[in-house]
Amino acid sequence: MLKVEEMTFSYKRNEYLLNRLNFDITPGGVYGLLGKNGSGKSTLLYLMTGLMFPKIGHIYIDGIEPRKRLPDMLSQLYLLPEEYDLPATSVDEFVKRNAAFYPRFSREDFDRYMDIFDLESVKNMQRVSMGQKKKYLVSFALATNTALLFMDEPTNGMDIPSKSQFRKAIALGMNDERSIVISTHQVRDLESMIDRVLILHNHSMLLNESTLRIAEKLEFVNTTDKEELDGCIYSAFTPAGFVGVRPNTTGAETPVDLEVLFNAIITNPETITNRFV
């Protein structure tokens, strides 16, 4: 569906932010795009949606470069940016004026997501809180039923109940025909939700693996006994005890701890990535 080929991007000459990235986004998965601040997560989302142009290499969505911004291609993708402006119109007016561009938009789905988020149909979308605005936009984004849905820090500004509502909405909005790419540095918000992990670090894609394969290859340890951390590639002390990650030698799968995985991979990039070669 989306193919990134040898894609390089830089804001300044010879200072690559993203260097020779190669990966595919295939239908039917929730992708978690993780990276430190300034690692290029948002930039990558903008490149994939045609808002920025690669310096070298190509990006294709069903064989068409997103930089062409062709209407048919744009109607198959939706980007929920980190910052957004909603018009001073009612929810119904907003839906009426924007839904027409998305052939698979479903008003029933939109109402369902509004219910999940406990949202009401307000008269002026500009006069609600930032978190509320985000929830309206997430509801609309999911209801477009586009094949590709990109979300940049979607849980920023959401309160604790809203984050679990968000996970519920994503689970409901997911199907085999669509892919959702969620960029975030709040990895806890994504846990139990994502099928595939993309980790951007030092200008390259350090990891691009399914959570199933990660669980096959790595064992995540959560213990109060420091001695149980033997063989860990990475470990850390937490208020509740210790967390760590080590090669999975037993074959028993443990739940993937995204935060531990992320910290492990940026501290020991080669050790972790070699496990997936």
């Binding site: 911004r69 109607s75 939706y78 980007l79 910052e83 402006d85 561009f101 998305y102």
Partner: protein, 264 residues
């Protein structure tokens, strides 16, 4: 579906465009109608061609400059670029609004202002209102009208182009550049006109040595008339070409617009 223009898609985009603009647009036209009504009331229930066109001109270039609201801030730019309509349709909606809707709305404002002015005059003079025919208060200078239309379209296009280049303080920056360019063009035209007139007079004089004084005088008048008509035609052509040029540059700028993540 056609990726450049589709009537259904353009219709949807135009409705979205109108929905977004309607509130600000309505407010602006209420203000414009008020200003026109006051001017008409003060000017003996009529308005001259110059102030009438000047107000339209200002309204249009300000509206053209506001195209930059689609591009700045970044969140607006993302929304604008990712709406599933072609860049041509997005541009066309703005051009049709500026070229057709703004003048038409202004004509409506003039009509309303005329009756508001009559009512105001009646109110302040304590006499019954003397209702007149529509557009009774409006003076049209038919000689100036073609020039006004051309300079209107050319200026609006220039400000539209400016909005795609300078996204902050668009109106101010475009006005400064417009004045500088206007000054340069004026100098070039003046020098060309002087050179052309001098050359023509020399040729006329050389070709009419054997003619009488009357003939020379008549020839000079003809040459002057020809020069005027050449300059008018040249002016029309240049103005049309510049209008097209500005619109093409604006369109190309839109198609090449990128979101810069490092600039917020």
């Amino acid at each position: 579906m056609n990726q450049i223009f589709s009537p259904a898609r353009f219709g949807a985009y135009a409705m979205r465009f109108v929905s977004q603009k309607s509130k600000n647009c309505l407010l602006m036209y209420v203000v414009v109608t008020g200003v026109l009504a006051i001017l008409m009331a003060l000017g003996g229930q009529s308005i001259d061609f110059f102030p009438m066109t000047a107000i339209l001109f200002i309204v249009a270039v300000v509206e053209a400059s506001r195209f930059s609201n689609n591009i700045e801030p970044r969140s607006m730019k993302i929304g604008f670029l990712l709406v599933p309509a072609s860049q041509f349709e997005k541009m066309l909606a703005s051009v049709l609004y500026l070229f057709i809707a703004v003048p038409l709305l202004y004509i409506v404002a003039l009509l309303v202002a005329q009756y508001v002015a009559m009512f105001l005059v009646a109110l302040f003079t304590l006499t019954p209102p003397q209702w007149a025919a529509p557009f009774h208060a409006v003076t049209i200078n038919s000689d100036m009208l073609p020039w006004f239309c051309l300079s209107y379209y050319s200026s609006v296009s220039f400000y539209l182009m400016g909005a795609t280049i300078w996204t902050r303080n668009t109106f101010l920056k475009t006005t400064v550049v417009n004045l500088l360019l206007g000054f340069v063009i004026l100098i070039i035209i003046s020098i060309s006109a002087m050179a052309f007139t001098l050359q023509s007079d020399i040729f006329t004089a050389l070709g009419s040595i054997s003619y009488t004084n009357d003939n020379i005088s008549r020839l000079s008048q003809n040459v002057r008339y020809d020069i005027e008509s050449v300059f008018v035609t040249f002016g029309y052509i240049v103005s049309i070409l510049f209008t097209i040029g500005y619109l093409v540059i604006a369109y190309l700028r839109i198609t090449e617009l990128e979101v810069n993540e490092t600039k917020r």
